[in-house]
Symmetry: C2
Subunit: 331 residues, 2 copies
């Protein structure tokens, strides 16, 4: 396993320590509950927004804590849901009079942890609501999921509710906004290589040199089928077509287009894919209103990419364009 | 080769097309000279800043074109210096009455292309100066270099002169600032895996499963020696110590600390390394004034990382903190 890891059990805590040390003015790491939170959260008039999931998908979600984005993220260990009691303690720490919104990608383990934590918090008298994200069109049910999986499109739900919360929207309004964005967001990905979890020390699955996994999950779960390694254009077609057909997106639509890297694919290849996708969508009469290229929701060191489309309207576009500040920046 | 590539000869142009399509309001791609430039460059009162090198190091340099950073980047093919006439044409396109500053990482091929282009441009009556960057402490001379190599620390030179140019500094002043930043910037990296250039289709060198290349160059050039794969802390020590000793950095210094990923290492591991480096430097009495974690200067899909330290003073810190806007963003 060729990775920068000390004790694999300390992989997530040591990553979070690094994140907090790099952002001493804005972020706090709370080791007891393994969470990253804004130093200025909770704030009285604002709903706190918390997202959680297994680790290994960075920057999701611990690296999108900041103004106009998340107030806190409570990650589990690599590819494991956070413990229910950590989610509960996080909700208590972030409780504001306006309430707490919990954002959860649709996986059975995460649903269970967040739903139980939410019940406990409500029993304490806290105002808590939970919103599930399920943007992956690849498969209906999957290894760890009843219903569709939540993948890179979760970024758009988080960004939109984060902006609305800064504007003062209440908990019900945030649920409306989040469900609306989720309902017009579609994603599909493919893997060129498997990923290697630090605690396992070897690849999570096998993928021959000339094969790809079409519709792969962000934990390496199987997608629709194995395909042959092809050109960038051929492989892009395998994921672009199902995403367009699913909503469907049609001529006249204005969309946000995201090319998301799965962790091991360089940004040069992501921009190449972006350009090809942009041109193909434009040829179909679909207008690209906003573009996103980079790593948003990864699968450790997996080589591969996903494509996400969001159908924009004035409200969604305004929320996506609203200012935000996070610690992860390159300049 | 598991990559998103169509025709390898079109790898760089298709990446640049994608970059321009993702930033339609701010960037222009000029296919004739394979360059990316700001739509608002050149500007009359401002020195234009141009950086060039082989491709394969993205985001350097084509993805750091923007306000407060570069006015243009002229990349070559993967790991190849840009053609001399492309650099010359770029200098002419970017020529402002205030002049053009060419930033060049110290490699023999790049030096030759930029020095010849600079002479041609001067013969045309243009005001052009060239600044060479050589921050890599690993080796004195190398495969493609007489003298030290320019690696990820080039970011700091670029950011500082970019900010100074926005403030109206003239060409001589920019040379002073750039040389000053270069003189207090030190970098060393290590590779866990080789990288695979699209046109070659196979790894550029061999690295056994239990070995690392300490002091690797960003084109896969040999460093100081091969070492054994160890823990994150053990491997970090192999590069942190030589960087600290070289300037040297000492107790009482205030520094910028960068952990740069080489392309295939996930950001989770980079933050883990950042936290360990931050603590070790703090233990030595070195204060971290600014932190940078992510990919700045990569080597295609190579797994690995480099560490850069910059000794800060008020002037350098102010220039590094100055606002900048580039197309590459994740939110």
């Amino acid at each position: 396993m060729k990775k920068f890891v000390n004790d694999p059990k300390q992989f997530v805590p040591q990553m979070l320590q690094g994140l907090a040390l790099a952002n001493p003015d804005t972020l706090t790491y709370v080791p007891d509950y393994n969470l990253i939170m804004r130093k200025d959260a909770p704030r009285d008039g604002k709903v706190s927004i918390v997202q959680g999931s297994g680790s290994g998908h960075e920057p999701a979600h611990v690296m999108t804590v900041g103004k106009g984005m998340l107030d806190a993220a409570c990650p589990g260990d690599v590819f494991s849901a956070p413990p229910m009691d950590y989610v509960y303690e996080t909700a208590k720490l972030l409780a504001s009079p306006a309430g707490v919104l919990l954002l959860v990608n649709n996986y059975t383990g995460d649903r269970m942890a967040f739903e139980m934590a939410s019940e406990l918090a409500e029993a304490d008298g806290l105002k808590v609501k939970t919103l599930f994200i399920d943007d992956d069109v690849a498969v209906q049910d999957s290894t760890y999921t009843v219903g569709r999986r939540g993948v890179a499109g979760n970024f758009f739900v988080m960004k939109a509710v984060g902006a609305a919360a800064e504007e003062g929207a209440d908990l019900d309004e945030l649920i409306r906004v989040g469900e609306k964005v989720n309902s017009v967001t579609r994603t599909m990905g493919l893997a060129l290589t498997p990923c290697t979890p630090p605690a396992k020390g070897s690849p999570l699955f096998e993928l021959p040199e000339d094969e790809i996994e079409i519709g792969v999950g962000i934990h390496g779960e199987p997608g629709r089928r194995r395909g042959k390694l092809g050109t960038a254009d051929e492989m892009l077609a395998e994921i672009l077509e199902p995403v367009v057909k699913d909503l469907p997106f049609s001529s006249g639509d204005r969309v946000a287009l995201m090319i998301n890297g799965l962790g091991g694919t360089p940004i040069s290849e992501l921009y190449l894919l972006y350009g090809r996708a942009h041109q193909q969508l434009t040829d179909r009469g679909i207008e690209i209103g906003r573009s996103y290229v980079g790593e948003y929701c990864t699968s450790l060191d997996m080589a591969g990419a996903s494509i996400t489309l969001v159908r924009l309207d004035d409200e969604i576009e305004r929320l996506l364009a609203a200012p935000a500040e996070i610690g992860v920046r390159i300049f």
